[in-house]
Symmetry: C2
Subunit: 109 residues, 2 copies
């Protein structure tokens, strides 16, 4: 998916026109959010009481295969929206609120 770390890239799109490069970078970022499974993973991570989730616990609720869930978690981690914490054979993930804030900021206000 050509995932790239989400970084502050530009003024809010409500303020000034984007360059070709800026729009491409932003589009890549929003593409990460354009899948229902990934959005659900992100919300499950943020809403988790402990603030983190374990990969194995997500397969059943999402109704997708284990490799598919693993794939989406990697996409979110590569984008910097989730932070992977490997503990032995388990993979735990925490949301990175600052990255979400970057995208929110790009939408204006």
């Amino acid at each position: 998916m050509e995932v790239r770390r989400i970084e502050p890239c530009c003024a809010p799109i409500t303020d000034e026109a984007l360059s070709a490069e800026q729009s491409q970078e932003l589009a890549r970022a929003f593409k990460v959010l354009s899948d229902p499974v990934r959005l659900r993973l992100l919300s499950l991570a943020t809403a988790a009481p402990t603030g983190e989730i374990r990969a194995a616990d997500l397969v059943a609720p999402l109704g997708r295969s284990q490799p598919t869930v693993s794939h989406h978690l990697s996409v979110l981690a590569d984008a910097g929206l989730l932070l992977r914490d490997q503990r032995g054979r388990e993979a735990w993930f925490r949301p990175v609120h600052e990255r979400l804030a970057v995208l929110r900021a790009a939408l204006g206000e």
Copy 2:
């Protein structure tokens, strides 16, 4: 693209987990923003001094064919992010800031 009007659909994803339906709806919305041409169109519309843009004036700066630009404008209009104002043979577009705000709100805060 199965575009649908962008509506307030859910609490911020930072607050509580999304349902399958909510995540699908949100994903559809972000998919509209996941293309560089559409992001650029949106920013050009918002940054325009008069607050509106004419379709014909966008072909050259975007470097895409006229049908492609027309297509993307339609996607944005269908999503409710742009408001189409037909004036004779010309099509003018204004940004709908409330729709952008809906997406911003879904990202938290």
